[in-house]
Structures are given as C-alpha cells and as structure tokens.
C-alpha cells in the first residue's frame, strides 16, 4: 500500500510542485520588498495625493484575501488586456503586489524608529536627504526588518496553497494528483504538510541566524503584530 511513497514519478511531481511554490514565494517577497520600499518612502515624503493613493493601495491588498486577489488576477486581467497570460506569471505579480502592501508597513515602521536622529546626522555631514536615505536609513531599516520579513516569507509560502485552485502546478496540486491516483488521502496530505513544515521551519532558522549575524546591536523593532 505504501509503495506509492517510493514511486519516482510522484516524487518528481512533488519536487516540481515544491520548486514552483518556492519560486512564487521568492519572487513575491522580492517584488514586495522593492515596491514596499517605494511605498514606504512615498508615504513618508510624498504629498497628500500620493499618500492617499498609497493608503488605498495598502488597504486594498491588506484588507481583502489574497485568494480573491488571485481570482481577480487570473480571471479579470487577461480578458481586460485581451491577451492570454500564463497563470504562473499572474501569480508572481499578484503575490508581489500583495506582499508590498504588508512590507510597506514593516519598512516604514523600521525607518521611523531611526529616521529622526539618523537623518539629522546625515544632513549634518552634508549629505542630501536622498543620500542619507540610501546610505544610512535604508541599510539600517532593512536589517531591523528581517524578523518581519521572515514572517512575511512564511505567510506567503502558506498562501501559495490557493494557487492549486487556478490550475498552477504547486505542491498542493501535486498532492491532489497523487491522491487522485492512489486513493490514499490522509498519508498524502500528511506528507505534503510535512514538506511544507520542513521547508518553512528550515528557512526560518536560516533567516534567524542571518538576523543574529547582521542585526545592528542596539536596535530591535518593537514587535507588534
């Protein structure tokens, strides 16, 4: 009964699914980081109109489920632009836009813990506001933000599970395929769940070590969920 566990075809599916999951998460988090930084800076230094637009963006992506955002991306965008787009590509973008909404909050929070004094110090040595942001504020903010960032990564990984419903071949989709053939349901989900667990826990541990190594002695972000 359990020789399905050694079937190389299934492991192939699983590994493929896992790699898709990881790709989407990584891309999403990276895009989220870049866009989130822009949003955070825009929110701190922009004019009222820009700040309002950012607020609407953030409220949309943080206030509605990623699940629904995925549906919108997959079913509404292609017909709107009148072209066929691979669901995977749409998934990358929707995850990135969503993550940016959350990361803006983390990055802005981190920036504001240090902004006042470090900005003054930067100006006092003759650097411009942008130079100070680039060489002093952001390098520190990114280090402060690592724990929140790790959290965001875990959260996003778990959310990739919804992509199976729109036909993307992720890890959950692999599980569905296997159980459809073998009729072993509980063990398959235990295995899939276990793989997620190992991946997420492993990644968190690595990020924790990175944080320990690179964190700035003397500042910890006030951890409020």
């Amino acid at each position: 009964m359990s020789d399905w566990l050694t079937n190389p075809l299934y492991w192939n599916w699983i590994l493929q699914g896992l790699s898709v999951t990881v790709e989407i998460t990584l891309f999403g988090v990276l895009l989220g980081l870049i866009l989130g930084t822009l949003l955070a800076v825009g929110d701190i230094y922009g004019r009222k109109a820009l700040r309002a637009a950012i607020a609407v963006y953030v409220e949309f992506f943080r206030g509605s489920p990623l699940f629904v955002q995925v549906f919108i991306a997959v079913y509404a965008i292609p017909p709107l632009l009148n072209i066929q787009i691979d669901h995977l590509l749409l998934a990358f973008f929707v995850f990135g836009l969503n993550s940016a909404g959350y990361q803006k909050g983390y990055i802005k929070g981190a920036m504001q813990t240090i902004l006042d004094d470090q900005m003054q110090a930067g100006l006092s040595v003759g650097m411009s506001k942008w130079q100070t942001l680039r060489y002093i504020i952001l390098p520190q903010a990114y280090r402060i933000v690592i724990p929140s960032w790790t959290n965001e990564f875990c959260s996003l990984t778990k959310s990739t599970a919804v992509l199976a419903t729109v036909g993307i071949k992720d890890l959950v989709s692999a599980g569905i395929s296997i159980k459809g053939i073998e009729y072993v349901i509980l063990p398959v989900w235990l295995l899939i769940g276990g793989i997620y667990l190992v991946w997420i826990t492993g990644f968190s541990k690595i990020m924790d070590r990175i944080y320990e190594k690179y964190k700035i002695p003397g500042i910890e972000l006030d951890m409020q969920s």
Binding site: Q118, G122, V125, G126, I136
Partner: protein, 259 residues
C-alpha cells in the same frame, strides 16, 4: 568680502509642541531677534538655563532647523535664501550632537569616512587617510572597527567630533556635547575640545560645562528666553556679570560646580 566665518542676523524661530489634549498647543519662542558674528579662530560659548532656546539657535546656524525670519551667512553665502543647495553649505560646517547620533550600522571608521566618500567624493585611499587622521586627533585609535553600540559614551562622542572635523569645515558647532554623558566620561571629550581649541579651530559651543568655559572659551554668551542677554569674557562672567539675570544664573552654577 566679509570678515566673518559665520554670521546670524536678526534670526527668529518659533515652534509648536502638541499638548496632551486635542487642540492643546504650546508655542515656544526659542529664538527672538538673535544676531551673532563669528570670526576665524573664535571660540564662543553659549550658555544659559535649559529650555531657553540655545540649541534651537545653534541648529538654525546649520539650517537643521529653518529660521522663521532673519538671515544666516556662511562667509559671503546667505544660507536662508530660498532654493539654495543646503547640502553643499552643510558640508562646510561640522555639527556635534548632544545625543551623538552616530550611524549605527557603520564602524567608527566607517562613520568618519562616509561623508568624505559620498559628499567630498574623495577616492577610497584618501578618504581612509583623512578619516584615520581625524580619529587620531580625537585619540581614538584602537577601536576604529567597533560599532557605536560597543563604544562608551565618551568614545562615541569623540567619534562624533572626528566625523565633524574630518571634512575640515570652516567652523564646528557643538550642541551640549557632554550633557548626555556620564560625569566620568566628560573629561575625555573636554580634553579633545581643548586640543582643538588650541589648534585654532573656529568653534561655537552650546554648553554648561563651566570649567571648560573658563579655560578655553574666548567669549561667553548668556542666552535666556530666546535672547542674547549679555556677552563678555569668561573672567568677566565668573567675577562680575553685568546683568542681574546673568548674575543669578552664575550664582546658581558656581555653587553647584565643585571643581
């Protein structure tokens, strides 16, 4: 061609503090028609009761706070003119903060080098040489690769001073450089400032370190409630201030200082 390194002309600065309740706003007139001239090599010390606005005035000199009215001159250049590239001007002024404000993510050496590379655009070698020279002047040699959190208060502030002098600015402004330090650590900072003074550095200091004032300052300026009340030599202030307010203040201070 002006004689002065820096000049303040009829500067005004007011700021608002939000109170606890909604609509509660306290208005603080920190700088009320203050004018000051500083020549090359001057060492002037501004002192007075806390909350009088001395720090605000000093920050106006560096345009870290923008004056509401009046003019600030760095040499012949007017800094309060709209649209001026303040960064270039600030590159010629060194500022030392009460709470130090070192760049936390950089080592001591990195803190001093950063502006040399990014503002003066010096090449790596040259920037390093000048940074090391500045650090040697403040007698920091063995902890140059430490991070601010690993330095003592006195060491950190000396790095702050090195950071300010590395660009060889026209003038150095110091805002209560020793006030945030533990008493045992103020000595090393005061020694550093004394050395700088003897080398002819132009300095404008806000401080209430009276012993330092007596030794090093050439002119003392008593500042209270937004105004310059009296100026004079240290001897003059310690022996016989002219105004009553200065007298009261000096009495209180001298009774407290036990050196």
């Amino acid at each position: 061609m002006t004689d002065y390194v820096m000049e303040a002309k009829h500067v005004y600065k007011t700021y608002r503090i939000k109170g606890e309740k909604k609509g509660d706003v306290k208005i603080v007139e920190a700088v009320k028609d203050v004018s000051l001239q500083i020549r090359k090599g001057d060492i002037k010390l501004i002192f007075g009761p806390s909350g009088s606005g001395k720090s605000t005035f000093l920050r106006c000199m560096d345009m870290l706070d923008i004056p509401d009215k009046g003019e600030i001159y760095l040499g012949d250049e007017c800094l309060t003119v709209k649209g001026l590239d303040l960064n270039k001007a600030r590159a010629r002024i060194g500022f030392v903060f009460q709470h130090i404000y070192l760049f936390r993510h950089l080592t001591a050496l990195g803190n001093v080098e950063l502006a040399l590379r990014q503002v003066l655009k010096l090449p790596k070698e040259e920037a390093r040489k000048r940074a090391m020279a500045a650090l040697e002047e403040v007698k920091i040699t063995d902890c140059i690769n430490k991070y601010p959190a690993q330095l003592s208060g006195g060491q950190a502030q000396r790095v702050g001073i090195a950071r300010a002098i590395a660009r060889q600015p026209d003038i150095i402004l110091l805002d209560e450089p020793t006030s945030a330090l533990d008493p045992e650590l103020t000595g090393e900072v005061i020694d550093t400032l004394r050395d700088l003074a003897h080398e002819g550095t132009t300095m404008l200091i806000v401080s209430h370190e009276m012993p330092f004032a007596r030794e090093v300052a050439e002119e003392m300026i008593f500042y209270d409630e937004g105004h310059i009340i009296e100026t004079g030599s240290p001897m003059g202030f310690f022996n016989a201030p002219n105004t009553d307010r200065a007298k009261q203040f000096m009495d209180r201070i001298i009774n407290r200082t036990t050196r």
